[in-house]
Symmetry: C2
Subunit: 308 residues, 2 copies
Amino acid sequence: MSEIPLVAGIELGGTKCICILARGPDAIEEIVRIPTTRPDETLAAIEAVLDRWSGFVAIGIASFGPVGIDRRGGDYGHITSTPKPGWAGTDVAGRLQRRYAVPTGFHTDVVGAALAEARWGAAQGLADIAYVTVGTGVGAGLIAGHRPVDGLMHSELGHIRPVRMPGDDWIGSCPFHGACLEGLVSGPAIAARLGHPADEAPADHPVWTGVAEALGQLCHTLVLTGIPRRIVIGGGVMGAGHLFPRVRAALTRSLGGYIALPEPTLVDTFVVPPALGGNAGPLGAIILGGQALGDSVGGSGSSAFMSY
Amino acid sequence: MSEIPLVAGIELGGTKCICILARGPDAIEEIVRIPTTRPDETLAAIEAVLDRWSGFVAIGIASFGPVGIDRRGGDYGHITSTPKPGWAGTDVAGRLQRRYAVPTGFHTDVVGAALAEARWGAAQGLADIAYVTVGTGVGAGLIAGHRPVDGLMHSELGHIRPVRMPGDDWIGSCPFHGACLEGLVSGPAIAARLGHPADEAPADHPVWTGVAEALGQLCHTLVLTGIPRRIVIGGGVMGAGHLFPRVRAALTRSLGGYIALPEPTLVDTFVVPPALGGNAGPLGAIILGGQALGDSVGGSGSSAFMSY
């Protein structure tokens, strides 16, 4: 991946969409924000923006999930089983690809942010990273060789089951798994446990001990995938920053000296906060568009699928 | 990946090496077994076999680990931190590549078996699989898009920390992690717990309940990576076969209906035993050699690294 041409990027979020016409963070031509309402209304508003833009040679979409990313699957480019009213089964990538007839990349907002942080942010220059967001939910994106790690679906490692702290038997808030990671450390999970918003709990509140241990176990699992050279953790719950030293300590403890990981021994630079803030999603969409364009002009053996 | 040319494959195991000259399972020209002793002696014996062979256009090596698989790392192609006397730091791929001057592929024996099962075995035709071996240790290999999932290192997901069964506080046998998966379900772990070999415990022995639950959690974690369309589980501990229905049930319970996974709902064909037996390793080495050859003649953007 060298220079990115002019791409129309869309971060499709649960409450707002960000449309960006750009080549990268230093070459942004325009950014437009649109509220996310009903699918037809929202996609029409996105199209009104893109209709006005000219010169883009690809489209990239980083969407809230779950989404279909299996290019051989019937739901590729769709939002699949979301509880968000009206959105389940919405074809996003296909609709835009047909309208603009340019290569169209599509993935989760988490993977989009991961790509952007790996290219321009907190993991700049690294081909292989994990990106975690801890907010309303817990998302974990995996990038290997500068590409999303894809198979049947996208990573959902935010739903692993961490070992509990001794004596902690709170049932957790995940409707599917109870005390999975998301059910223990997401903002709503912590709020449900405390009876008040997570950010009202001071740094020395005992709730953070278990949160840090659970996130340390997520990092342990991510390290054991073999992929990441760095783990970037963002999202509202991480905002205060006091969790980082504790998560790093929990990871180091949990790995127990197992195998010589060069980066994890430098754990302060292995588990880091993001650098791009709210721009990571739309900038990731630019990269997804650029990758779709690159695949469409050949180079990859799977170009027929990759170009959508 | 279409047809594989004639490749010299080597499965480098802890007690024996298998050298194979083949294009695939139906085109095996010769198989030679060599005991694994000291590194110099063993590698010289392998070279004596390869010196006698002619016509192979690539070499593939599937080795016991841990191994260096980062092509930009100084230990690429080496066995790294093994406790096996004399073998730590042994350069395997570099030595053979220099001697025979053909493209040389290198990975773990687990990934080798995974590639072979995906091409010719229990996951035939699937691009994205996980392969688990439960024996002396627990190995887990990940294949996406027909390729090993590589980043900093190879998968070590056999060392995840599963949630324990209520009331089970056995300390586990892993010297690094205690009650990690390998420390709970490997053959030596079960034997240490029982005081006798695992295969002497009948199918209705209570020890298997916890083993199946822990393996179900490994499958849960593997599914959440997003990668596998099938999970193949082999190794001595799985030999009796009675564990499969229990592991499938544990996986289904653990996923809790989360997201619509097409294959896991057909869990009997999602978690399966291997089909290639002892030939998976050497046949995987053939694929690793074929992939190295393919990369060396172009097609991949990373051909310079992939050809070693």
